[in-house]
Structures are given as structure tokens and as C-alpha cells.
């Protein structure tokens, strides 16, 4: 193994993260009015069930064709099929602990090696005062047939899987709450 440079440690974003991390259009993964747009929103809760008002939720996802505009997509980087699609969303939690993004449903991802195909999902980072490092989770979508065979969901104990699945609450609206602790603690991932 070659010599490695030691990594820089993580630190909390602290309570004043908005000064550096709030983007006016951060929640728009796609421009408003994009055909097929959906809103995903929810509340971030602490272990006492109190909404966290100084947190940040970030999302990263494939486009509706299941592709990434990134050189490490082994199928090649392609321009997204949806004009203005960024793949990335960012939402500071508000005074009530709510976050929200506007996006489109990602496509399924192809199977890798002997893995199974991945159901549509978003990768999520959560930052907050009191979190010394980000925590990572995934958002899946209720009613997607591929959820049953998704390799990541399969690695999660069955009784906790529901914490990774956004609930459909409207025509084009999904709800995904994040519980940092408690009976309904969200499943967090080490990637």
C-alpha cells in the first residue's frame, strides 16, 4: 500500500451554518415548472422529538434515466435528459425543522457485477449543530416495484426499512422525516 496523506477531521456545522451554506435556489434540483417535478419535504427531529431548526439536508441523485453527469459513471457522463437538472439539492431546516426540495424521480440504476438493480433513490447528508460529522441516509419512494429487490434495502433489517422510504402524500408530493434518535430512528449508512 502506498503512503497515504492523513485525512482532515470533520467538525460540526454549528448553529450558524446558514451564513455559509444557504443557497437561494438550493432546493431546486430542477427549475420550477419542470414536467414531472415532485416535492420531497419533511422534518428533522432530535431524540426528544423536537424539530431541529439549525440543520441542513443535502441530496444527490441520478436523473430520470438513471444516469449521472459525472466521469465515474461507467456508462459515461451524459447531459441530463431534463433541462437544468442538477442532481444536487440543499435545504436548511426552517423555524419548524422542515426541509424541502423540488426534483424529479430518479431512474433505477443498473446492476453492478452480481448485485441487483437499484430502485430509484436519493443519497442524503444531514448536518446540524450537535452532529460532529454528517450522517448519511437514502430516500426511496413508496410504491416503487424495485424496492423489493434493491440490494441496499435488502441489507437493512426489515423492521427498520420503512425509515428509508418516502411516503406519497399528494399528487406530486413525498414526505421524508428524519429522526436522529428514538423509536423511529432513521437508518443511517456508512459509505
Amino acid at each position: 500500500m502506498s503512503e497515504q496523506l492523513p485525512l482532515t477531521p470533520s467538525q460540526t456545522v454549528g448553529p450558524y451554518l446558514r451564513l455559509g451554506l444557504d443557497w437561494p435556489k438550493g432546493a431546486d434540483v430542477v427549475p420550477p415548472g419542470t414536467p414531472g417535478e415532485i416535492v420531497i419535504s419533511g422534518t428533522v427531529y432530535d431524540g426528544a422529538g423536537v424539530p431541529i431548526t439549525d440543520g441542513l439536508v443535502e441530496t444527490w441523485q441520478a436523473d430520470p434515466d438513471g444516469r449521472f453527469a459525472h466521469p465515474d459513471d461507467p456508462r459515461g457522463a451524459v447531459e441530463p435528459s431534463v433541462p437544468g437538472f442538477l442532481g444536487f439539492g440543499r435545504s436548511c431546516t426552517d423555524e419548524t425543522g422542515r426541509w424541502s426540495i423540488r426534483t424529479v424521480l430518479p431512474g433505477a440504476l443498473p446492476a453492478l457485477d452480481d448485485d441487483a438493480e437499484e430502485a430509484p433513490h436519493l443519497d442524503v447528508s444531514v448536518f446540524a449543530r450537535g452532529l460532529l460529522d454528517r450522517v448519511v441516509t437514502r430516500i426511496y419512494f413508496a410504491g416503487q416495484p424495485g424496492n423489493d429487490t434493491d440490494p441496499l434495502l435488502a441489507a437493512v433489517p426489515a423492521e427498520r426499512r420503512a425509515t428509508l422510504v418516502a411516503e406519497k402524500v399528494g399528487e406530486a408530493e413525498y414526505r421524508f422525516d428524519i429522526h436522529l434518535q428514538g423509536d423511529r430512528e432513521t437508518v443511517f449508512l456508512q459509505v
Binding site: P6, Y16, P110, L132
Partner: protein
């Protein structure tokens, strides 16, 4: 067509603070109690936003975002963003935020009795060049008190946010200034493992200090690098 698993990023070791570090009280109700589930890195994890984004003309100079100049010691902060293999991370967004020279943030929830500075907002953003280098101009932030324990003070620091090239490389951290006497008392600084903490401390650099203008602090940031390929490993 069969697609190979992408080459994963190395898992960090002896680097990051434990989420349940008890010296920092806010971890109590916020650190998850269950261990995270270790999952393979797939396509969503080895890709990530390659943002250059919209960078404003004064985003790199926090002393020029208002009509007048902020009070305080003018400094430049510069360095390189690298991965653990020593490869520069080019074209990546670096976001910073900090308190003013008196230790007060321009944030509505920060109301300890130190003055606000009408000429200082405290937020900046730069993009690394092709060599992974970044640089910004600001004023040295002050220390500030907080409610963690009796007479708790944060050492002066600048908050940093980095993306790298992949979701797995995302990092938010804080940069400190050399030989701060508050290191001995600060649970956030001390939450990082001994031996890793000093990686968050910048160095004063006379060579890049600008005469009659600004003191220079240098700080390199190291993000996770990739596992070697099996082919490379057989040759080590």
C-alpha cells in the same frame, strides 16, 4: 452489459470525531444511537455534484462585501485541497463562514454582547484551480463564548465546507489558528482523535504574507482517496 463495481473510496480511520462525544453537550439528543450500516459504494456514492456554481465577484474577499472595510486583522487563507493519495482536487467548491473580529456572527440567533460589524457578513466561496489551490481574503475571527459548560469559549475558527468529486468525499470542518490557548478547553476541537486534531490547525506563513497588507495562513485539506485497484496492489 455487466458493469463492474466502481473503485471505492477508502474508509476514514482515526480521523473523525465520534458522533456521541459527550464533552459536546448537543450530541446528547442528536447523535444516532444505532451504528450506521456499512454498505458498498455504488454509483450514487462514487459520483457527486461537480459544481462550479455562480461565484460572485467578491465571494473570495470577505473584506470587500460592503461599502467599508471590516474591523480586524486582515489575513489571507490559502492552501490546497488534496485526496489522501496526494492528488489535487481541482474545480471544487470551497465554502467558508466565520464570526467577525469581535467573535460575533452576523446571524439573528447570535446575540452575545460583542459588536456586530456593519461591514462584515462572514460568508465566502471559492473554487479550487487546476492544482487544487484555493485562496481567500478575510479578517481573523475572534473567539466567542457558548453555552456548553461554564465559561466555555470556542477558539477562533473558520468553518469550511468541501465537496470533492464524489458524495463519499463530502466534508464540513473548521480551520483553527496556530497555538490557540483555548485548544486545551474546547470539546469540539478535542472531539477529533488525538493525533488528528492538529490537522485542523493552519500555519502562519511569512513567505506568502503580503507586505503592508495581510498576514498569511496556510491550510491544506485532505479528502478521502480511492482504494487501489487489485492490479496495483499486486505490484506493491
Amino acid at each position: 452489459m455487466t458493469l463492474a463495481h466502481p473503485r471505492p473510496y477508502r474508509q476514514p480511520r482515526d480521523t473523525h470525531p465520534p458522533l456521541d462525544y459527550t464533552g459536546y453537550k448537543s450530541t446528547g439528543l442528536r447523535a444516532p444511537t444505532q451504528r450506521p450500516i456499512l454498505v458498498p459504494q455504488r454509483l450514487t456514492e462514487v459520483t457527486g455534484p461537480l459544481l462550479v456554481g455562480a461565484i460572485g465577484p467578491n465571494d473570495h474577499d470577505l473584506t470587500r462585501q460592503h461599502e467599508g472595510e471590516p474591523i480586524g486583522q486582515r489575513i489571507t487563507v490559502s492552501g490546497r485541497v488534496l485526496d489522501s493519495d496526494g492528488r489535487p482536487v481541482p474545480d471544487t467548491l470551497v465554502e467558508v463562514w466565520q464570526a467577525n473580529a469581535a467573535g460575533r456572527y452576523a446571524h439573528k440567533r447570535d446575540n452575545w454582547p460583542a459588536p456586530l460589524d456593519p461591514n462584515f457578513s462572514g460568508g465566502g466561496r471559492v473554487v479550487t484551480n487546476s492544482l487544487g489551490e484555493y485562496s481567500f481574503t478575510t479578517i481573523k475571527p475572534g473567539a466567542y463564548p457558548w453555552g456548553n459548560h461554564h465559561n466555555a469559549w470556542r477558539p477562533a475558527h473558520i468553518h469550511f465546507s468541501l465537496f470533492g468529486r464524489a458524495f463519499t468525499q463530502r466534508l464540513v470542518t473548521q480551520m483553527y489558528f496556530p497555538e490557540d490557548p483555548l485548544f486545551a478547553f474546547d470539546p469540539i476541537y478535542r472531539s477529533a482523535p488525538e493525533g488528528a486534531r492538529e490537522r485542523m490547525v493552519s500555519t502562519f506563513d511569512m513567505d506568502t504574507t503580503r507586505p503592508e497588507w495581510a498576514l498569511s495562513y496556510r491550510w491544506d485539506i485532505v479528502l478521502r482517496g480511492r482504494e487501489q485497484t487489485p492490479f496495483e496492489e499486486t505490484h506493491e
